[in-house]
């Protein structure tokens, strides 16, 4: 799933300076699951922003709605009375935030979260990055462990000289992805795969303004 983290409430408050009627929109999928943009978090941020305004002696009306996904028109269209608001804060990932911005072009849409990565839910509240969405998956060659996302340098042929007893030189609490790959392949009896040099990737596939049309 897409992993995001809450923005500091001060930052959200600053974005909303000058508005006194705001809609906060939660997303019921990825950001709910990563405890960042579901109904509970929207509730909390709305309370926090309202408190901050109260302290300053200002009134702010904050509407709260949470929809299943903000990256689908049909769900976005379930939002009600959006035109009544001067600004929207979206608690979806970047895709969802832009979904709202595209649907409600007359109303400024602010991000309520920072979208971080495509990750794995390790345990309650702990997420790890697993995928860079590079557009050219090589997991078949690397024992199911992605060096693009999980090697600090994104090396396609590793490890580098910075590997340190299974850890990465950047931090002793980060595994060296290439040691993980080695161990995985060894366990599968496929160390010969490790010796094959991977060709440079086509980073064009990871470029900007990507579209995907499966209808063709």
């Amino acid at each position: 799933m897409i992993v995001a983290e809450p923005k500091p409430v001060e930052e959200i408050k600053k974005m909303l300076d000058g508005y006194d009627k705001v809609l906060m929109v939660g997303c019921g999928t990825c950001t709910t699951v990563c405890l960042t943009g579901g109904e509970r978090e929207v509730d909390l941020m709305a309370t926090a922003v309202r408190l901050m305004h109260k302290v300053e002696g200002k009134d702010i009306q904050i509407g709260q709605q949470t929809i299943l996904r903000q990256c689908d028109w049909e769900y976005i269209d379930e939002l009600q009375n959006v035109e009544d608001y001067q600004a929207i804060v979206s608690f979806a990932c970047g895709a969802g935030i832009q979904g709202l911005a595209r649907r409600f072009t007359n109303i400024p849409v602010m991000p309520g979260v920072n979208t971080n990565f495509i990750g794995f839910n390790e345990e309650y509240g702990l997420y790890s990055e697993q995928c860079k969405a590079c557009g050219e998956c090589i997991l078949d060659k690397t024992g199911g462990i992605c060096p693009v996302a999980r090697c600090a340098k994104g090396l396609l042929n590793g490890p580098c000289g910075g590997t340190n007893n299974g850890k990465c030189e950047i931090s002793s609490d980060k595994d060296c992805a290439w040691v993980l790959i080695y161990n995985q392949l060894e366990g599968q009896g496929k160390l010969d795969q490790f010796k094959q040099i991977l060709a440079p990737k086509d980073y064009g596939k990871a470029g900007n303004i990507r579209m995907l049309d499966l209808r063709k």
């Binding site: 500091p8 409430v9 001060e10 408050k13 019921g28 999928t29 709910t32 699951v33 405890l35 960042t36 579901g38 109904e39 509970r40 978090e41 509730d43 909390l44 309370t47 926090a48 309202r50 408190l51 901050m52 109260k54 302290v55 300053e56 949470t66 839910n121 345990e123 309650y124």
Partner: protein, 698 residues
């Protein structure tokens, strides 16, 4: 209604609503003959809210002081804590709730808004219970009682060492205080005629119980020294000069027989033999009666049937028994068989018959009330009606012998029938809703539950017991009662999912220490009520706000938070409640300016709760840490502290000052709590007023 349930008009409606809204009940409530809301009154004791607990007990257990002593407590037999380390001592908690409040005022009379009069013949547990329900419903109720006080069998028959008579009187006074008119020393057929009552009252309930002891027509049964159980027990209860011979034989194996035998010991009998038809495993008395009787030196002789009473000069000298080889036949019908060759002779000064009771129908002879060939009232168990259009019957007189609490159940049933008859004009079958008990605790949940040893009720030593009729069982002191009440696991009052909000994110599955949540087939979370301990961690963590906790729902918590608009609001779990200062008060008193918000467990604490209190304008908010030695929840993360920290960051960012919210230790005593509040107050004074209220409570 004392319970304050709005737009509910009758006792029966309140009970039915409670049952129907969620028929799944904890096993204690399911096993309880009156289906009492046991968790509620236990939890109120756990929180130090004793008077509220007593009121909650009385809703169904209408005689809390008496039933708190003599109820045979089937609730405890089904308590799921039996699978952990021992049942919650529910009966002792109920007794505590009554005893601690004996100096509290009773109720004010309920206005008689119904404009209809109900006569109740017989002021025993059944009659009193029906009076309670009907008076609460606004009927004008009169009890006609032949004895000098109400209570029936528990007043006349149950010995004082089990149930002191002032306790019965206190229970009766509570019911009388609702506006019930009690006419004692009033015998039907002598002081007042039954047909007149049936004519003068809109409805009549006959609840006269079984007040006549039976004799056995064996040779010698009418000799001097042969006594009957109930007159004997009455003497023992009310005649300070009552005596009995040195050698006593009691015939019978029921609870009354044991009451007789144990009373005889207290009256000075040195040798008491109890003989009954049943073999040891079939003796109908409760197991603890057998144990306590044996401790008091009573010899129990199972499988003996009385053959003849030895008489000399018209006086009893002994009794001969024959071996009883069978009590019930293959159809489970009472049909004893004997071996006349095996005999037992016991010398005796007194033989006391305790083989059962019948109804005293003398006052009804020649009235229009129909009685069958065996002298029993003609009665329909569905409508509880007799042959007369406005006359109902309940309790042992129609159900046969049973426990006091069973009579109370039947009386609730009768009160419902009468209330509906008087409201609609029709006597229809009344079906009492039956609860569905939740299942057993799974093994993995038992593993995760913190052990809390059961407290037993202190008993007077046997050698001391037999010297007098002083009560043999002591009640709990405050601390023990609170501790014992805190052992309740609140079965079935835990988490429930709102499916349309669930994102199947697994958060609840991961944070629950008891393995209660699981992802159901429809890809939404669900909860095993068998496992849930109602701590509320999941509800406060669910990112979709998709979980509600029955016992600690947000509406109730928010109401408690909103009671505080200045001063300090304190959040604490029920275990962090400081020692009670004023035992019989409605709630544990907090220092002035402190609003206590009690949660089942502080893991239920939501950041929103903290911010709500701040937004209400209080000067400060304190969260009491869990007293680990008392907590029965397992927590791998200190959720309350984590959430307090985030709330602090938010109010700091808002310019309110992080230090207005504090996480503090668990106070061990009310004095320590006062001191902690004093220190926090001093700190808040330095901070000045909450910018949201601009008024500081000094």
């Amino acid at each position: 209604m004392k319970s304050g349930v709005s737009n509910i008009t009758s006792q029966s409606e309140a009970f039915e609503k409670w049952m129907v809204e969620n028929p799944v009940k904890p096993p204690c409530t399911s096993a309880c003959p009156v289906n009492a809301d046991i968790q509620s009154f236990v939890s109120l004791v756990a929180q130090g809210r004793f008077r509220e607990s007593l009121d909650a007990v009385r809703e169904r257990c209408t005689l809390p002081g008496s039933l708190g002593r003599i109820c045979h407590h089937p609730c405890e037999g089904e308590c799921r804590r039996n699978d952990v380390e021992g049942a919650v001592n529910i009966r002792a908690i109920k007794r505590f709730a009554a005893d601690i409040c004996t100096d509290e005022p009773h109720y004010t009379p309920v206005p008689k808004t119904q404009g209809k009069r109900v006569a109740i013949v017989g002021g025993g547990p059944a009659g009193l219970t029906a009076a309670y329900d009907l008076a609460e419903d606004g009927f004008d109720v009169t009890i006609f009682e032949k004895n000098d006080a109400c209570g029936g069998a528990i007043y006349v028959g149950v010995p004082k060492y089990r149930l002191p008579k002032n306790i019965v009187a206190w229970d009766v006074a509570a019911i009388a205080s609702l506006g019930v008119d009690i006419k004692t020393n009033t015998t039907i057929g002598k002081d007042i005629q039954f047909d007149d009552i049936a004519k003068d009252y809109d409805a009549v309930l006959v609840a006269i119980g079984l007040s006549v002891s039976r004799n056995i027509p064996i040779p010698g049964h009418d000799a001097e020294g042969v006594l009957l159980a109930l007159p004997f027990l009455k003497e023992a209860n009310f005649n300070d000069n009552a005596t009995v011979g040195k050698r006593v034989v009691v015939i019978g194996g029921g609870n009354v027989a044991f009451d007789v035998a144990r009373s005889a010991r207290r009256l000075g009998a040195e040798e008491v033999n109890l003989c009954c038809l049943e073999c040891e495993s079939e003796i109908p008395a409760f197991s603890w009666e057998l144990e306590e009787a044996a401790e008091e030196g009573i010899k129990i002789n199972p499988s003996w049937g009385p053959k003849e009473i030895k008489v000399k000069d018209d006086k009893v000298t002994g009794i001969v028994f024959k071996r009883c080889t069978r009590v019930f036949d293959e159809n489970r019908m009472f049909n004893p068989a004997y071996d006349e060759c095996e005999l037992l002779e016991i010398d005796a000064d007194n033989v006391i018959m305790a083989i059962g009771q019948g109804a005293d129908m003398t006052g009804f002879t020649g009235t229009s009330l129909e009685v069958d060939g065996r002298g029993r009232i003609t009665w329909d168990p569905a409508t509880l009606k007799t042959n007369l259009p406005n006359v109902f019957a309940c309790g042992e007189v129609v159900t046969g012998p049973g426990s006091a609490v069973a009579a109370v159940r039947n009386a609730h049933h009768a009160a419902t029938a009468i209330e509906r008859f008087l409201t609609t004009g029709k006597a229809e079958a009344v079906v009492m809703p039956e609860p569905i008990p939740i299942g057993k605790l799974p093994d993995f949940t038992i593993e995760a539950i913190t052990r809390k040893e059961k407290n037993l009720v202190p008993m007077v030593e046997p050698a001391e017991r037999v010297k007098s009729f002083a009560e043999v069982e002591a009640g709990f002191d405050i601390q023990t009662a609170i501790y014992e009440a805190q052992r309740c696991m609140n079965c079935s009052r835990g988490a429930d999912i709102i499916p349309e909000k669930c994102a199947a994110c697994l958060t609840c599955v991961r944070v629950c220490p008891f393995g209660a949540p699981y992802i159901a087939e429809a890809r939404v979370a669900n909860f095993s009520w068998e496992s849930c301990q109602a701590c509320g961690i999941c509800a406060a963590e669910c990112p979709g706000n998709a979980i509600q906790v029955a016992f600690n729902d947000d509406t109730k918590i928010n109401e408690a938070i909103d009671a505080g608009t200045s001063g300090i609001t304190v959040f604490g779990c029920q275990y962090a409640v400081p020692t009670v200062k004023n035992p019989a008060s409605k709630a544990t008193p907090a220092p002035p300016g402190v609003n206590m918000v009690r949660l089942m467990c502080t893991s239920r604490l939501d950041i929103q709760h903290l911010l709500r209190a701040i937004e209400n304008g209080v000067d400060g908010v304190a969260v009491l840490a869990c007293p680990d030695d008392k907590c029965r929840y397992r927590k791998d993360i200190n959720w309350a502290e984590v959430r307090t920290e985030r709330a602090r960051r938010i109010i700091e960012a808002a310019g309110i000052g992080a230090d207005r919210i504090t996480f503090m230790g668990s106070p061990g005593s009310p004095e320590a709590f006062d001191e902690m509040m004093g220190e926090f107050k001093a700190k808040l004074n330095e901070l000045g007023a909450n910018p949201l209220s601009k008024v500081l409570v000094k």
